[in-house]
Every structure is written in C-alpha cells, then in structure tokens.
C-alpha cells in the first residue's frame, strides 16, 4: 500500500518551535550560529558586559560536550543554561523548550542562544527564535557564504568578526559582501573585532532596537 504523505520532514520541530515562540512571549530571542572558533562566545561576553545594566539577559549555551562556555558566561552574572547535545550537531526546538522552562525566559528582555559550532546543521532547525545571527570570522575565508548558503540566506543579522586579522589573510571583503548580498539582501552586515571591542556598537544598538520592536509587536 502506498500512502501519499507530502509532509515537511521537520514538521515536528516546526510545531515545537511555534510552541516555543508562544512561551517566549515578548522576550527577544536570538539564535547565534557560526563555525567553532568564529568568536560566538566572546561576542556573547562582550554583549552581556555592555547591555546587562539596561536589559535582562539570559543565555542558553549549546555544545556537543562540556560546560566550558557556560562556565565562561557564568562569570558575567546572568542566568545561563548549558545544553549538551551528546554528539548532536545542532540544537532542536525540543531541547530549547526544556531549557526555556528552567530559565523562565518569558521574564527576560533578551534570550541569546549560542548554537553548536557548525555552519550547516543549526541553520536547518527553527528554535522559535526571532532572528538567526550568522557569525563569520575572516580567518575562515571569504568563500564560506557561497559554500554554506542556507545559514547566510536565513540570517536576520550577519556579523563578520575578527576583522583585526584582515591584513594577515587573503579574505576579500568585497567578494564576501557581494556573495552575502546575493543570498540575503536585507540583513544588516556588521564588521567587527569583538575581542578587541572594535565595531560592537552597531550590534548593541541593533539588539536594543529589536527588543523595543518585539515589545511593540507584543503590545499591539
């Protein structure tokens, strides 16, 4: 017997992501995705230090193993939950549902999820976030948007990090930005060197603006 199905493979995840969206309420939820070592955790630390005085921030750390990133974040006095996927290469909406319940995420202004370091898999899985943020560091090479298009197409914000290394690499910024714009004409692109505190302000301002617009949408 042949049964026509015509169902999205990820429907179960999409359904849970919708439930997560409701649970998040008017909290802005950001899903940060990038390769291992592109600077995601450093970006988080800088963001907490800059904004924790004005906004309630909570963090979910996704890693395959260890709680090293959550340890780093816990020194910054914000609530943090570590999710270990034990081999899994991405977070799923179900994992986030459990972590969200523990964090009381609805009481936060921003929930930032640092996904497992990987340019491919996390882009597939909707967690119920408002925006995916793609982080690309110049040391990875300017060909990465063309090689891993889905993430950069889906991103609501694109960060090009470690720009202080530009002169030491053959990264062609014009070529990278042209490829990014071909994939995604709307997402802001911010160049920064997070570790050096250089170029971060537009990112902070974008977060402040997005928190406000999420609240306004929720109030409307």
């Amino acid at each position: 017997m042949k049964i026509l199905f015509e169902q999205d493979i990820l429907q179960e995840n999409a359904h849970q992501a919708e439930l997560n969206k409701s649970a998040f309420g008017d909290t802005l939820v950001i899903n940060i995705i990038g390769s291992p070592g592109c600077g995601k955790t450093t970006l988080l630390e800088k963001t907490i230090d800059a904004l924790a005085g004005e906004l309630n921030i909570g963090i979910i750390e996704g890693d395959i193993y260890t709680a090293k990133d959550a340890d780093r974040i816990s020194h910054h006095q914000v609530p943090v939950i570590q999710c270990n996927t034990a081999g899994g290469c991405h977070l799923s909406a179900e994992i986030i549902a459990k972590a969200t319940a523990e964090l009381n995420a609805g009481a936060l202004d921003i929930l930032i999820i640092e996904n497992v370091g990987n340019l491919v898999c996390p882009a597939e899985f909707d967690l119920g976030e408002d925006h995916k943020v793609a982080v690309l560091s110049v040391v990875e090479g300017d060909d990465k948007p063309a090689k891993y298009p889905l993430l950069f197409q889906e991103a609501g914000m694109i960060i090009i990090n470690k720009c202080d290394f530009l002169e030491l690499t053959n990264f062609n910024m014009d070529s990278a930005i042209a490829d990014l714009r071909g994939l995604n004409e709307n997402a802001p692109i911010i160049q920064m060197a997070a570790y050096k505190d250089d170029g971060l302000e537009p990112w902070f301002q974008w977060l402040r603006d997005e928190v406000k617009s999420k609240r306004n949408r929720a109030d409307a």
């Binding site: 493979i9 990820l10 179960e12 991405h90 799923s92 597939e124 899985f125 298009p149």
Partner: protein
C-alpha cells in the same frame, strides 16, 4: 551530520502516520531534499541503516531520496537557471544579478509504502 536528525524526524513522522492507519510494517520511504539543505544522500542512507534496527516497523525498509537542484528565477527577465555555486551569480539570459530561489529548498516526505 544533521542527516541523522533528518532521518530520525522522518521515522517519527512516518511511524505516527503508519500507526494511525494500522500499518504494521513500512517497506519504503520516499523523500525529496533540495540541494540547498545540504542533506547528503549517502549520509542519509547511512543514518537510515544505523537508526532502523532499533525500530521494528522499519526492518527491511528502503529509503529513497530525490535531490532537487537549486533553481533561481531572474527578477529582470523571469528566466530560470540552475545555481551550482552561490558566487557571482549572473542570469545567463540577461546578465541580471537579482534573483529569487524557486526550488531546491525542499525537505519533504513524499510518500511511504507499507503493509
């Protein structure tokens, strides 16, 4: 590596549907995956081989996966062309640079067979 998750979600969905129709054994599952989604057919089959022994409903079942190319439609002249690589994309018909992707993003269970 997300192939194992994709196969697991597929098995969950098919198992639920099959159970609701009183189907005891699934013999074939047919998927369509767009190239944009980065699901590698060999890895999908490998994940299927590793995940099905623990699920009796799928013993002996076959996974078929159809890959669809990434097709762009030029905003200037509406012609369609396949994208092999997302670098310096130019419409071969008119030289236009702006396009919309109209195919290649599928991730779908089309049908399954069972008894």
């Amino acid at each position: 590596m997300h192939e194992s998750s994709l196969v697991e979600f597929t098995l969950n969905a098919v198992e639920d549907k099959a159970a609701s129709m009183n189907i005891k054994k699934v013999t074939l599952i047919h998927l369509t995956c767009g190239k944009m989604r980065g699901a590698i057919p060999q890895l999908m089959n490998e994940a299927f081989r590793l995940l099905t022994p623990a699920r009796p409903m799928f013993h002996g079942a076959v996974l078929e996966m159809e890959e669809t190319p990434i097709i762009a439609k030029c905003r200037a002249c509406n012609s369609q062309h396949e994208i092999e690589e997302f670098h310096d994309i130019t419409c071969p018909a008119c030289g236009g640079k702006e396009y919309d992707i109209i195919s290649g993003e599928e991730l779908r269970i089309d049908y399954f067979e069972g008894e």
